[in-house]
Symmetry: C3
Subunit: 375 residues, 3 copies
Amino acid sequence: MVRTFTRTITTPAAARMVRPGSRPFLSLLTDFGSRDPSAGIMRAVVLGICPEAAIVDISHDVEKYRVRDAALLLWSAAPYLPVGAHVAVVDPGVGTERRAVAMETARGDHLVGPDNGLLMPAAARLGGIVRVHQLDSPQYRLPVISSSFHGRDIFAPAAAHLAMGVPLEFMGPAIDPRSLRMLDWPEPQVHPGVLVSSVIYLDTFGNVKLSALVGHLFGAMGQLGMGEPVFVRVTDAQGTSDLELNWVDTFGNVPPGQALVYEDSYGRLTIAVNQGSAAELLSLREDAEVVITRLPLPPVMGDQQWFDPSLMDPSRMDPSLMGPAGYDPNAGYDPNAGQWQQTPDWLDDGRGPSPDGSEPVWSPPPTPEPDPTAR
Amino acid sequence: MVRTFTRTITTPAAARMVRPGSRPFLSLLTDFGSRDPSAGIMRAVVLGICPEAAIVDISHDVEKYRVRDAALLLWSAAPYLPVGAHVAVVDPGVGTERRAVAMETARGDHLVGPDNGLLMPAAARLGGIVRVHQLDSPQYRLPVISSSFHGRDIFAPAAAHLAMGVPLEFMGPAIDPRSLRMLDWPEPQVHPGVLVSSVIYLDTFGNVKLSALVGHLFGAMGQLGMGEPVFVRVTDAQGTSDLELNWVDTFGNVPPGQALVYEDSYGRLTIAVNQGSAAELLSLREDAEVVITRLPLPPVMGDQQWFDPSLMDPSRMDPSLMGPAGYDPNAGYDPNAGQWQQTPDWLDDGRGPSPDGSEPVWSPPPTPEPDPTAR
Amino acid sequence: MVRTFTRTITTPAAARMVRPGSRPFLSLLTDFGSRDPSAGIMRAVVLGICPEAAIVDISHDVEKYRVRDAALLLWSAAPYLPVGAHVAVVDPGVGTERRAVAMETARGDHLVGPDNGLLMPAAARLGGIVRVHQLDSPQYRLPVISSSFHGRDIFAPAAAHLAMGVPLEFMGPAIDPRSLRMLDWPEPQVHPGVLVSSVIYLDTFGNVKLSALVGHLFGAMGQLGMGEPVFVRVTDAQGTSDLELNWVDTFGNVPPGQALVYEDSYGRLTIAVNQGSAAELLSLREDAEVVITRLPLPPVMGDQQWFDPSLMDPSRMDPSLMGPAGYDPNAGYDPNAGQWQQTPDWLDDGRGPSPDGSEPVWSPPPTPEPDPTAR
């Protein structure tokens, strides 16, 4: 059940509007920071090529060099962006032989950036990759290419031309999508009654985002009722701690200062504190391992393995604490299990990413399930 | 003397220009931060509905959950914003039963956000509220409403449709404006010769903004001449301190490093340090009480009440240190007493917020004067 | 060899496009910060006057009061900005008698801001100043001028009118460009085999930008091969330290954590650490003096002068370590010696800033070469 977004998410009223000749749309996402002029220069380069462009800055304050953070933010934003050219640059390998690429997605967008995995989750969410070209035609780059600012010299110009309608194949030679670099993405593990996940992002409110989506949680333990308790074991370099949290639908449903688990607005499992920072108050850091169960886990002893799959033998567990049979949590980036079931027809036509089958569509394969014994 | 802005503040030259079919204008103000993608997603949702929109970000770095800060920033910006739809979201109650609303102001703007008081000072400044509707028509929302990101799912879509000309009443049922929640706003107290106020905002320069406008100060002690000294007593949890500052019109008129009191560019009483941070150098914090006089106050002794109104008996005071008789400092949000008296006709026609009387206009009532004996 | 940019730097494909009636372009650069509403208010004021404007924010997070930082950022961005009106406001003297000005450059831009030197490097880079006018016509200002926010009241309105085509002379009386204030800019000194420079900016990655351009380095010691070592002596208030760094073309060409010297994407000499902060790891601060040589300098002893020009007598040095004869490193702001030699014709027509000689063009004079014996 890979659900992708082959139409832009917008209001029913807007979806019925006829708007010929809409402005070209671009989005920008970098780790360039807001103090330096780099992000503004990219916008200026785009407008110098495509003066009518509507440009949205998703963020320029991604933590430096964190490709995975940027990939998550782009994945989050993608379904809400108008179809257009989306540039993402977190690029520690700039100036080396890593490739500069532009991909066409099944939804009709162009994703533009370095070939370091950054674009892959968003590509999958926009229906998969139809084709990829390398960016090396000098016609669509600035005349001199620096060794450290390809956002200005290569990516922004390519996106501006693509947004104006220049065909993707003009940018350079085609690339086999299977040669694209994948992202190192921590895939959650769904076991009967147990969800094993990890912290992937701390947002500016201090909310703690997990690698698991709410569908993974429900896959492991079935639907949770409002206010039901869950048990959360967190393990990082500092040790192990156990939390008991309530499953609620929003901050305001617990008193200020109290922690909670909820589904964030992108379908992601998130630990938060009402009007406080969960990251700080619960000392949660990125990449900490998080195990969620409905019953308390036995205490950790000595150098015992933190998670013993044999304890989780389904035949020994209460079926009411497990998720539905046949759930495949590793089928891909699926933000919307559960909630989006009620998606109206016009939002996602359900026909999959390539409606008429006229174009081959390649989706990044699911990352292999991690080996829980290898730590 | 409530002075509101029923015309946009712009240049004389621009006010004479004929510009049919101007672009729809929207502004955004949130506490979502610049690292996360939330603000960019709101912009993208607006452009997906209204591609021609001109969008201005007032700020996305309001301190988390500080509704009053955001209300102050919106109040500051409002007269300078083109008429349009203005979205403000600092919303600790998101997902609970607090209402989502859009108001039409007498100037013709739409203010869009949660019903938590955030929009009220700006509404008053734009001439008062003509009507209010709740945002619950599914036609003008995203198809699935999350429990924690109404900026994306409800407010940005509503504002985009309003900016395009969709009538306010299409958004949902009308609400009685008197049912709107008011903001807890610290109203300054003007006494003969004494102004009692408090710190409401520290800006990024470290300038310390008070709840009082310059009109309040002049109401208490008459016009001040350039360089005249005033005495400032600050009381907070740490204790009481006394300052002697000069009243000047701008930073550059005292040496670098020296403190001053001046009227900021919005008509607000402000304590600053030339090329330094007054907040830091004078240890001033939000909500500290600030008493301003022309003569030094007697020292504080024991647990003596910090401000004794009997000391301020007008009959015992030098009339030259008091403001004009009949001044009503609590008549509402009045940023411009004094300075704006020279406002040219075309800026504010003086006819009040509803020129032809065809529409009932409701303004938020002045907040009641606080009881100085209740602390 | 002063190389200026009388055409916008863009792609070959875009340079051939015919685009009549392009949108007016403005850029904004301030130290107003992203939390306060000031930057957003400037954008709103521009759009209230010129609704079709395409506005790019270069940065609003320049460190407070640092005129030189802002001048560097504007110099960096200028060649990449479409021709338009560029507003820069870092203005500790606001409200005093410093003048508000708008300059026309040979490229056709308008630079708008305070007369405190901030605009001068960008003016030189855009071909020099054709004419300057003071901003004092009330027709093109907001009706009331505050004493502390001329960005809103004077500069943004002037730029918006200029972008729409209002003639510069309508803004106020002409000023003799020679009366403009120059910026205190640390000019590097090129000696045979030795480059004496200083740190002028630390970017958000912690990269350490020097006052010297790569042309200065090559002028002192000839072209450097990829990976060649250079010796760097840093002197600041904390003392003197010596570094041996490799000259490479980008971060990715040394292992993570290793320091390097490279030419940044604006032609500027820069010290960096791959995936780390050179400012932090090497304890480099703004205004530290940096001496670069190909051979180790003798150790510093006692209160010996840190740089003894007699040691650098060309007749005693290996000619292979020196730059080409006749190089004039102080000929002006020359970002592109070396690299830009291959600039295609259409980018810079080589005819200098005033092709037909019809308009007198004034360029800021080169700052005088500092006296290396005066410290």
